[in-house]
């Protein structure tokens, strides 16, 4: 299990390939990539603030929860912070398990929890100014599924 919180870009293809290569014994690997939306050209940049220290701790806790619920052989979370341009990769999740249902469910669970329980805050920078992205009730409701 690996958690990385970083400003630097990551290589989704290389990370996914390395994760799959190391997933010995797993019959299923699921990967997810989150990308900055351009909002129809209205977005200049996305700024992601985080809480150094708590971020790593919170994500590790979320990964532990996932590993407690599904028989994962491995998991990976990479999440960036700082200023990102539209189209840039924000974060990725990878899960490995013997069967696909567990790998899919764990990846979905990780995404729901990273969205509203890991201390990141997104700010959208546009031509007309900047605005903090508000959390939605749907984000919170998504946690009730689990």
């Amino acid at each position: 299990m690996r958690v990385a919180v970083q400003a630097e870009a990551f290589d989704y293809g290389a990370e996914s390939a390395a994760f799959a290569a190391a997933a010995e014994g797993a019959g299923a690997v699921v990967t997810f990539l989150g990308v900055v939306r351009d909002n129809g050209g209205a977005l200049t940049a996305m700024e992601i603030e985080h809480y150094p220290g708590m971020t790593e701790k919170a994500i590790a806790g979320i990964v532990d929860q996932a590993a407690g619920r599904w028989p994962l052989t491995d998991a990976l979370v990479i999440h960036r912070h700082g200023r990102l341009a539209p189209g840039e990769a924000i974060m990725m999740v990878a899960t490995a398990s013997r069967h696909r249902a567990a790998a899919f469910a764990a990846a979905d669970f990780l995404m729901d929890y990273l969205k509203s329980r890991a201390p990141f805050w997104k700010k959208e920078i546009g031509a007309d100014g900047a605005e903090w992205v508000a959390a939605t009730e749907a984000d919170e409701a998504a946690l009730d599924r689990w």
Binding site: G34, E49, H50, Y51, G53, M54, K57, A58, H79, I90, M91, M111, L114, K115, S116, R117, A118, P119, F120, W121, K122, K123, W132, V133, A134, A135, D139, E140
Partner: protein, 84 residues
């Protein structure tokens, strides 16, 4: 009285105008600390006007506003998180 590091993130940080500060307080709970801070100046009152819009972490773990501050060294206030 004890010394606590108080951290602010996102619009809470912008509204108060600083990312962190050391606070000397006798507040027994998060809610009591919020009341002390809100009474300081308008910018604090504005940031803490609606605590239902805020979240709090004690020593980097999410907590409730009625949680005690016994032994806590770091308190952080921020809006609901928007990761992923």
């Amino acid at each position: 009285m004890s010394e606590i590091d108080v951290l602010y993130f996102a619009w809470v940080r912008e509204r108060i105008g600083l990312p962190r500060e050391r606070v000397t307080t006798g507040a027994a709970t998060v809610a009591a600390l919020v009341a002390e801070l809100a009474a300081r100046e308008d910018r604090y009152a504005a940031a803490f006007a609606d605590v239902s819009a805020l979240r709090v972490a004690l020593d980097q773990d999410l907590a409730d506003f009625d949680a005690p501050l016994d032994g806590v060294r770091e308190v952080a206030f921020f809006p609901p998180m928007t990761g992923g």
